[in-house]
């Protein structure tokens, strides 16, 4: 469930893949953090993650949470983007047999779910096969 405020707060990350890069050690955090887990530094600069990557592992969800019932089955994977940062997202436009560890993917802007018939529509990033 996402209330308006909780959804809206993550828009820079969900829509634009904005991450924080530690100004001291260069480590990249997505979503951005207040403290660098690597070096303890507290200052960051905003960067956008690249939109190409590779699937590291995946699964196909067949028993979904209630608000994803009409999308079932769908694939979820860990995608390592070209700068080494990993994200977790759905893998779309792809049948279960096409899914393979190591397959190249790109990030596309997609609808993630709807809060029922009358609630807000939630968007975000998904991976689709690169061809």
């Amino acid at each position: 469930m996402s209330t308006s405020a909780r959804y809206w707060r993550e828009i820079p990350q969900r829509y634009r893949l904005e991450a924080g890069q530690c100004e001291k050690c260069g480590a990249i955090w997505f979503p951005p953090r207040l403290v660098c887990k690597q070096c303890g530094n507290r200052s960051f600069k905003t960067i956008r993650l690249p939109e190409e990557g590779v699937v590291k592992t995946f699964t196909v969800i067949r028993v979904p949470p209630t608000d994803f019932a009409d999308q079932t089955p769908y694939a979820i994977g860990v995608v390592e983007l070209s700068n080494g940062v990993a994200v977790q997202c759905q893998i779309g436009d792809c049948s279960p047999d096409e899914l393979k560890t190591g397959m190249p993917v790109r990030i596309e802007f997609r609808k993630v779910k709807e809060e029922g018939e009358a609630g807000i529509i939630c968007y975000g990033y998904k991976a689709v096969p690169q061809r």
Binding site: P31, T59, I61, T66, Q90, T101, V112, K113
Partner: protein, 385 residues
């Protein structure tokens, strides 16, 4: 820090307990532990419970259960660490006695999961993962562990059959445990061919939704020697650790780093190593979790958990019996109660009281309890005195 002993345990039959409310099951288990300990009062209480708020709309469990157990005005508080709530509560109880703050401490774990629908339970459980960067996308717990399973299979050659064998073994053990939710055996084929939940894990790879509670009584070892009526078991090692909550932010998603870290600290405190452990209760929320856990705990080499399970090393008669109680898989997994029930099983074994499932000559056992995808983990080592 003084030595601490477990002098009482209370376990009950777990399952879908329609007639019993959360407060009832907790009090039943707590009374059993108090009777088993033979004490006439307790000084302080910890309650392990993941999400009474989401399951039954009730927070403030410490106060509620101290009231219903009839022990108010003692201090009582709920401890939460997702599925490691029980182990975390036990650790807090241990610290309170070890520090000298209290003499007799009750630690109970409870979860009442069947008052909500399946969808409601799935939602409550999902709060153990990263809400905005894992759950937001529609991932479920079986999904997270399924991704770990696939990575483990691809990296180490672990097979689907090896993973399924964990369920076979644990169900066989569960048949020897009258408290276990399921009293039935399963075969590797049944596991592999049952309903797919998140590729490659099926419904039989997953621990169930369960109502249940478990409780233990702790006191200083010196006091135990005076009042205990049963073989005394002391807490030789207690540790906890954390890891990135989102699996994609970990260096190695096949490795339970928090479990390895907690185990290292616990072994050090107890001044023993993995080969000194006679049996262990590990957190098999999913079959693959047991395989990863026995690797992290040092019972088998990294990557060899599947092969070791297939070879029977972790069976009741094997080199290192794992989950003689039936594990979460067949005993059930009322989330907050699990960690405490693991202690009950180890104590039962060390007291030589485990009947059909007794590990002969067991002197030292280990309990590993983890939250979510092991973003938190407690490890306790118990020894008979």
């Amino acid at each position: 820090m003084r030595d601490v002993a477990v002098i009482g345990i209370g376990m009950m039959k777990w399952g879908e307990l329609w007639e019993k409310s959360l407060r009832t099951i907790f009090v039943e288990a707590a009374l059993k532990a108090i009777d088993d300990a033979g004490v006439d009062h307790i000084d302080s209480m910890y309650v392990g419970c993941m999400s009474s708020g989401l399951f039954v709309g009730q927070e403030h469990l410490g106060a509620l259960l101290a009231d219903y157990l009839g022990v108010a005005p003692i201090p009582a508080v709920r401890v939460e660490s997702a599925c490691a709530s029980g182990g975390a509560a036990f650790r807090q109880g241990f610290i309170e006695v070890a520090s000298g703050m209290s003499e007799i401490v009750l630690v109970g774990g409870v979860e009442k999961m069947t008052d909500v629908t399946g969808g409601g339970a799935t939602f409550a459980l999902s709060t153990a993962a990263d809400q905005e960067y894992e759950v937001y996308n529609g991932v479920t717990f079986p999904g997270l562990y399924a991704m770990m399973a696939r990575a483990h299979m691809e990296r180490y050659g672990t097979t689907r059959k090896q993973i399924a064998q964990v369920a076979v073994k644990n169900h066989e053990n569960g048949c020897k445990n009258p408290h276990a939710q399921y009293q039935m055996k399963v075969t590797v084929d049944q596991v592999i061919n049952s309903v797919m939940v998140a590729d490659p894990l099926t419904i039989l790879d997953c621990s169930p939704i369960t109502d249940g509670a478990a409780a233990v009584v702790l006191c200083p070892l010196e006091l135990a020697k005076k009042i205990a009526k049963k073989p005394i078991v002391k807490v030789a090692g207690s540790a906890a650790a954390t890891d990135s909550i989102a699996i994609h932010q970990r260096k190695d998603i096949t490795h339970l780093a928090a479990a390895e870290q907690a185990a290292k600290m616990a072994y050090k405190m107890a001044n023993v190593g993995p080969s000194d452990i006679d049996l262990a209760e590990v957190h098999d929320c999913f079959t693959i979790a047991e395989i990863c856990a026995i690797e992290a705990l040092g019972f088998v080499e990294r990557g060899k958990g599947g092969a070791a399970t297939e070879a029977g090393e972790t069976a009741l008669g094997g080199r290192i019996p794992i989950n003689t109680s039936g594990g979460l898989k067949s005993k059930g997994h009322p989330v907050g109660a699990t960690g405490v029930a693991q202690i009950c099983e180890i104590v039962t074994q060390l007291r030589n009281d485990a009947g059909e499932r007794q590990v002969k000559g067991a002197k030292r056992g280990l309990a590993q309890n983890m939250g979510g995808t092991c973003a938190s983990c407690t490890v306790h080592i118990l020894e008979v005195v």
